[in-house]
Symmetry: C2
Subunit: 242 residues, 2 copies
């Protein structure tokens, strides 16, 4: 797609609390360039948006009633683990609620509309610097069949979440069969390589992606709003494992 | 985990055929440094190892009998699509067999033991240059619940496939809950961002990963052999969706 890509951790961001202007904070910490992608972890987005709930700090299972509340469907239970579908359509453990990297006595919920969260950060960055970037809100999900978690996109803005390569040819001139690439998820996972889970780096920049992954503006300057909820989340009807 | 990371596509590798020495080809094309990770697509590994079968070039479904043969269990069928488990334990579409980026009239099977394939490339690179690298063999898989494919690791060498962060603390000093990170899958997905599906770039370098993802040598110089098959593939017993 491109020459090379850099994954750049953004350090020294300071504490995020309800009302923190993430776009301003990011612009103060790093010099962004055209078509950077800014990856922001769900945890700081939820904190900035106040999507937090009090839980009993001495009860390790105190967030479980929240998990039930935030789920529209429970898919599996094993011991304390609940795999459920959230109202966004994400299928993940504990409805995406967790307690790590939040203050004791609090649980972070998923943002109400993570695509909108991403758009807000993107628009904030453009408003301050005039720079067109893509934004991904990332979270850590498990997968079926494979051990371990990876970071995926739960929201995005300014990007084509799933790149459709149908009709393009492979290196032999043969039309490609497997053709819809979830670029936003590959971006989220790549960014996690410089974030870690314990290092307190909640933002990373992915620099050098090809223009084809960015959502083009229309001739009148307006833009298509594509995001993870519409493009990546699979409807139950087309899902073979629900 | 680290400072920054570079994703570097390796261009100009030339045609890979049965018997091609991939390690030699890679060393000729790029100057590797200590703790680079070399990501090689399954397709060129299968070609180099001769894991290819003739198919009728005029029948788009001619590889389907191979899919049945290479599967130990069929999980779902919908139209022409088969989701099955391979004898490695991978759950994927069409037993990982496909026809893109191979010569007309041929289908590429998965390598017999992709961890061994990765070790062979790693040992070949060390033999030629003395450089210790990690190697990932990547392939393109779909996922449940989410649209689009991403690249994941089907084999690895010199790496800790799933990094266990249990016992480490988050930024608040609280012990992490979600703790096993499938680093090799994040590496494979990141590498795909510079490979694309149609650009004929079958190798990429991930440079700058922290030492903690590399498999340490024992005091006597021997190394632990950890790979994707043992560490990432989930046994049916611990899988909630099989």
């Amino acid at each position: 797609m491109t020459g090379g890509i850099e994954l750049i951790p953004v350090r020294g961001l300071g504490e995020v609390t309800r009302g923190t202007d993430l776009a301003a904070m990011i612009c103060d910490a790093v010099e962004l360039v055209h078509h950077d992608v800014v990856v922001v972890t769900q945890k700081v987005v939820s904190k900035a948006e106040g999507a937090m709930e009090r839980v009993d700090p001495d009860d390790p299972l105190s967030h479980k009633p929240l998990v039930e509340r935030e789920s529209v469907r429970i898919l599996r239970r094993r011991g304390d683990l609940i795999i459920s579908e959230t109202r966004h359509g994400f299928v993940c453990a504990n409805a995406g609620i967790d307690l790590s990297n939040v203050e004791r006595g609090w649980a972070a919920l998923l943002p109400e509309d993570p695509d909108r969260s991403a758009r807000r950060i993107r628009d904030g960055i453009r408003g301050r610097t005039g720079t067109e970037v893509g934004v991904v809100v990332s979270d850590t999900f498990g997968r079926t069949w494979r051990r371990g978690v990876t970071d995926v996109a739960i929201g995005s803005a300014g990007l084509i979440p799933v790149l459709d390569l149908r009709g393009t040819a492979d290196a032999y001139g043969r039309e490609l069969q497997v053709t819809e690439v979830a670029v936003v998820d590959e971006i989220a996972g790549a960014a996690d390589l410089v974030m870690g889970k314990s290092t307190g780096v909640p933002v990373a920049i992915v620099r050098g992606l090809g223009d084809e992954v960015f959502s083009p503006r229309r001739d009148d300057g307006t833009e298509e709003h594509r995001g993870v909820l519409g493009d990546v989340v699979r409807s139950p009807a087309e899902d073979l494992f629900r």
